[in-house]
């Protein structure tokens, strides 16, 4: 039988079990467990560090489900606000990232449920401010293709994925665009890694077939 490690009690900080007085380390050098422990005691700096560490992944997951850029930003903000106010109830049995992904996925489905119909809005509908942000972030990575080309490629991908089931679509985006591993996708979608592999394989086959059909 596999040994299941017992979660540490909340009152004990992750690295201070000896009872000696503990020096507060800078947030940059702390691991997630310690940052969560500190954030649970209303250390805002620690929570800000957690945001900085996990925002990219939260954006990736939300972007895979919601698509509209402004909605993605709103969802991401809502996710972190929700996480902050329910952090005291988080007992650290699971990894912080897993917990955060679950909030993200639920928040995205909630938003889509409220809207019912998801309008397909592509990057051409960006506000001036958002376009400036995208361009400024793109300018930093000169080795990558031009931003307009990348946005166009994303639109093309989104159109190709339109016929897929929501979960399969998210899986492909996370794997092929955002660079998640199979294990990470399984964590986000709360699935077995083998299930992810099989579904990914089928989804990929379908998309490739669709692309071939479009070319012909």
């Amino acid at each position: 039988m596999a040994h299941v490690p017992k979660p540490e009690p909340l009152d004990v900080p992750p690295k201070a079990k000896s009872g000696r007085s503990r020096v507060v380390a800078p947030v940059g050098s702390c691991d997630d467990r310690e940052l969560v422990w500190r954030a649970q005691r209303e250390d805002k700096e620690a929570f800000e560090e957690l945001i900085r560490r996990h925002q990219h992944r939260v954006f990736a997951v939300a972007g895979g489900i919601v698509r509209r850029r402004e909605d993605v930003e709103d969802v991401a903000q809502q996710v972190f606000v929700k996480a902050y106010f329910s952090l005291k109830r988080f007992d650290q049995r699971a990894a912080f990232s897993t917990w955060l992904y679950k909030i993200t996925v639920n928040e995205c489905w909630d938003m889509l449920r409220k809207r019912k119909v998801r309008p397909l809005v592509y990057e051409a509908d960006l506000s001036e401010e958002q376009a400036r942000q995208v361009i400024s972030s793109a300018e930093k990575s000169k080795d990558e293709p031009d931003i307009s080309e990348r946005l166009e490629a994303r639109q093309r991908v989104e159109r190709l994925l339109d016929g897929l089931d929501e979960r399969d679509r998210l899986m492909l985006i996370l794997k092929e665009v955002e660079g998640f591993s199979i294990e990470e996708i399984a964590e986000v979608l709360d699935l077995n890694p083998n299930t992810v592999k099989v579904r990914l394989f089928r989804a990929r086959r379908r998309v490739v077939g669709q692309a071939k059909a479009q070319e012909n």
């Binding site: 902050y84 293709p145 492909l172 092929e176 394989f201 086959r205 490739v208």
Partner: protein, 168 residues
């Protein structure tokens, strides 16, 4: 025969995982050759003989090409985002604190409020009682008006006359 098929399937599955890993390592796998270079000689040999695996490799490469260069949400830099979230949290906390203070202020004024309510109640009931005493409970004179006509009483002389008439 069955064993041979089973073995082949197991090999295909293993190869599938190896291809996935190779594809994940090579961000820009432009061709089947690029992708299979990373595989072991044995695996490459299997691909040559197995049609399913050949198709799987081709699909991985094709999918990579389709998705190549698509704008990724996770790679964008958002230095302003953490500050924006913290501002939202601070605003929410202020809002919650205001709601809480409204209720914590209540006990401070509770005794005064109780006095005011008691005085208003006393004054109100007194006025009500006084106004009840001044107004007459029943009208002093005159008959109460009715919508029905009262039966008219017969005069005593009529009764005597009728009794006299009955006698022989």
């Amino acid at each position: 025969m069955w064993n041979l098929l089973k073995r082949s399937k197991r090999e295909c599955r293993r190869l599938g995982e190896a291809i996935e890993q190779a594809a994940a390592k090579q961000a820009h796998a432009a061709s089947v050759q690029n992708l299979t270079e990373a595989l072991a000689a044995e695996e490459r040999k299997h691909i040559e003989t197995c049609q399913d695996c050949q198709q799987a490799v081709q699909e991985v490469v094709r999918a990579k090409m389709l998705f190549q260069g698509a704008a990724s949400f996770s790679r964008e830099e958002r230095p302003w985002f953490a500050a924006r979230v913290m501002a939202a949290i601070a605003a929410r906390e202020r809002e919650l604190a205001e709601r809480v203070t409204a209720w914590t202020e209540f006990p401070r004024f509770a005794s005064r409020l109780a006095w005011v309510v008691a005085i208003v109640l006393l004054a109100g009931t007194t006025w009500f009682y006084e106004s009840g005493l001044q107004a007459p409970a029943h009208p002093v004179s005159g008959m109460p008006e009715s919508i029905f006509e009262a039966p008219q009483q017969a005069a005593p002389d009529d009764i005597l006359a009728s009794q006299a008439g009955d006698r022989p």
